[in-house]
């Protein structure tokens, strides 16, 4: 049994709770005073565990960058109790066999839920549907399908995918990037790219696909999810679609909420990411869109890369940034400190809503009697300095190195067992550890 005393909920009430057999068994107004046993949560927020719908775990294929285990450890360190492994592994997660392998690796790591995302097309080739039904029926129970890293560019394939997944209430998560408009693209197309001479990735290449797919989703009455929206125009299109009642959801990454293309000026590939960092105007549109709920969720797009893929010239470098361990802090900084939204909305965007989109039943639950105990404790005021060498991920490619960020996670409870104690990731009963 775990007891937590004097924790603050998002409605500012102070509670004591008890957890037994994986669920919340007692929940009451805080008794106050010094409790004899249990976790003293004074000054801390108690939140449902975070849920990420966009995580690159690199296994199988690039275990030098990350494994399901190291990615799970990083997830716990970032307050996540559920992550979703993107399909662009090697081999690609486009069969029941591969998604089951990833699912089992997640189980044996045992630190958080690891839900495989299935590829939309075989080998991410954009030409032929992968066996979506087999992945849905597998023990992994896949419901999100994505060719992320690549766009499902062919409108007919996209239409068919959207239609087909209706059988099992699946959703297609689109990486919106018109390939012909982004040949050899290296960064946001605009005044910085003009000046520093890097091939541009125009906002329109994202917006054109978002517009097309919204209309396709309306036409076939299916569910569409837009990965990592980065442009003000993209936010506008999704707002319009929602007003029309189209079943579209969208995510934004922490790095697109904070960083802009001005950072590319020195050609340090730590800032190379796809889709690219955009302008200040886009950053504000994304923040407002997230506050308003036009953008439903925050997703990390955690993309680990080994050192040599970033310690080189810009064009030779890989796209991507790690993000699991800094996501909550960046969202606190960009959304709560800026007073755009409160803790209730943060919990909605980082836990409740992602769990709903994906259908993760034991995640994103309200903090109530009988809820599955996937919980975190966060000191909202304490700050910490990001130090890349101290990341739990196998990779070091964080763009936030050296930054002082708010929000220190002290405890994580996954399915009723502690996976983090006093800010240290620990072994949980069923699995291996760090």
């Amino acid at each position: 049994m775990i007891k937590i005393n004097n924790a603050k909920l998002v409605d500012n009430s102070l509670v004591d709770i008890e957890i037994d057999n994986g669920v919340i068994t007692k929940l009451g107004k805080a008794a106050g005073g010094k409790a004899k046993d249990g976790i003293d949560a004074s000054g801390k927020m108690l939140l449902p565990g975070l849920v990420d719908l966009h995580t690159h775990l690199r296994e199988p294929g690039r275990e030098d960058a990350e494994t399901v285990l190291t990615g799970s450890v990083a997830a716990v360190a970032g307050g996540y109790t559920s992550i979703s492994a993107m399909a662009n592994t090697n081999p690609v997660a486009d069969t029941a066999g591969v998604v089951e392998q990833i699912y089992r690796l997640g189980k044996s790591a045992g630190l958080c839920d690891v839900n495989p995302i299935g590829a939309v097309t075989k080998g991410l080739n954009g030409e032929q549907l992968a066996e979506l039904g087999a992945m849905a029926d597998s023990i992994a129970g896949v419901r999100i399908f994505s060719d992320d890293g690549k766009c499902v560019a062919d409108p007919l394939i996209m239409r068919r995918a959207l239609e087909y997944v209706k059988t099992f209430n699946g959703v297609i998560a689109q990486h919106a990037q018109e390939p012909r408009l982004t040949i050899n693209a290296q960064m946001n197309e605009g005044s910085v790219s003009a000046r520093i001479g890097l091939p541009g990735w125009p906002a329109i290449a994202e917006e054109a696909i978002i517009a097309r797919d919204i209309l396709l989703a309306e036409h076939v009455q299916s569910r569409l999810h837009i990965c990592h929206v980065t442009t003000a125009g993209g936010v506008e299109l999704i707002r319009w679609a929602k007003q029309r009642g189209i079943q579209v959801t969208a995510e934004v990454t922490p790095h697109h909420l904070l960083l802009t293309d001005e950072l590319v000026e020195n050609y340090d590939p730590i800032y190379k990411v796809n889709p690219p960092l955009r302008t200040e105007k886009d950053v504000w549109a994304l923040r407002e869109g997230l506050a308003e709920g036009v953008i439903d969720i925050v997703a990390t797009d955690h993309a680990p890369h080994p050192a040599e893929d970033k310690d080189c010239e810009w064009q030779a470098a890989a796209f991507g940034m790690v993000g699991l361990e800094t996501a909550l802090s960046v969202v606190i900084k960009t959304m709560i400190e800026s007073k755009l939204m409160g803790w209730k909305e943060l919990v909605d965007r980082m836990s409740i809503k992602p769990a709903q989109i994906a259908g993760y039943k034991t995640q994103g639950q309200s903090i109530a009697l009988s809820s599955v105990a996937n919980l975190i404790l966060v000191d909202p005021i304490a700050t910490w300095q990001v130090e890349r060498s101290k990341l739990h991920s196998k990779s070091r490619n964080t763009p936030f190195h050296g930054m002082e960020l708010p929000g220190l996670i002290s405890d994580v409870i996954y399915n009723g067992a502690q996976s983090m104690i006093a800010s240290k990731v620990v072994k949980v009963a069923s699995g291996s550890n760090e």
Binding site: S193, E313, W314
Partner: protein, 316 residues
Amino acid sequence: MITGHLLSAADLSKDEALNLLSTAKELAAITDGPNKKLPTLRGKTVVNLFFEDSTRTRISFETAAKRLSADVINFSAKGSSVSKGESLKDTAQTLQAMGADAVVIRHGSSGAAKRLADTQWIQAAIINAGDGTHEHPTQALLDAFTIKQHLRNDKSDLTGIRVLIVGDILHSRVARSNVLLLTKLGAQVVLVAPPTLLPVGVGDWPVEISYDLDSQIEKCDVVMMLRIQLERMADSFFPTEREYSRRYGLNSARLAKLSKSAIVMHPGPMNRGLEISADSADDLKSVIIDQVKNGVAVRMAVLYELLGGAQIGDSK
């Protein structure tokens, strides 16, 4: 005196650029004499690190370094370990171990020179000899030198001079460096190109933009024609070579419209008959050969200032 590295034309203040041009002028006068060689950089090692083919720029730097008595090592990517997959970092560390004092780098990746300067891979002075579609600062210096030589006396800057830069601005490192340097020296710069070959975001540059060469040709002092690469046609930047040549090429009809004192420039290598007709290239108004000659003097001045001065390495 400039110190540290030369990565961008923006690194130079107006005074530094003008001083560098006067140094180049003095050095040019010396090397015009019977003994072309100076002992200034004896014992220094200059590496020409060329990841892209460029015979002209490489031999210009090589000549400049040799006239200052430096030891020159030419490292070209073809046939070297680089073509076997060695990284820029490993190449740089190798050159560091061999004691390079200056590295002249030409690389297909924008920002490669800046990366060498910013990382701890190598301590040498870095000179950007063209990085991707970003910059080529010594080309801008030699262009400014040539413009001054023909249109201005010793002391003055380029105020009042109107320069047309015509062609593929989008992919041109020559254009980017020239815009920075020539405007800093007081010139008015007009970029003339089809909209497909102008970068999105060019509106922030301190230049005028025109899509129409004929409307500009009569009122300029300098017309600088950029090389057009034929693969641009395959990518639909323009329909055909002939159409490009008709609309944006310098031909005898346009040459005749130039003012009396105007000069014709081209960074080379030329596509005769495409962006510049043979008679324009060979006309008395053409200073293209002077550009090549001045390139050596300007590069001598850059090496001299970066390696000869006591402050070398200060910016590290």
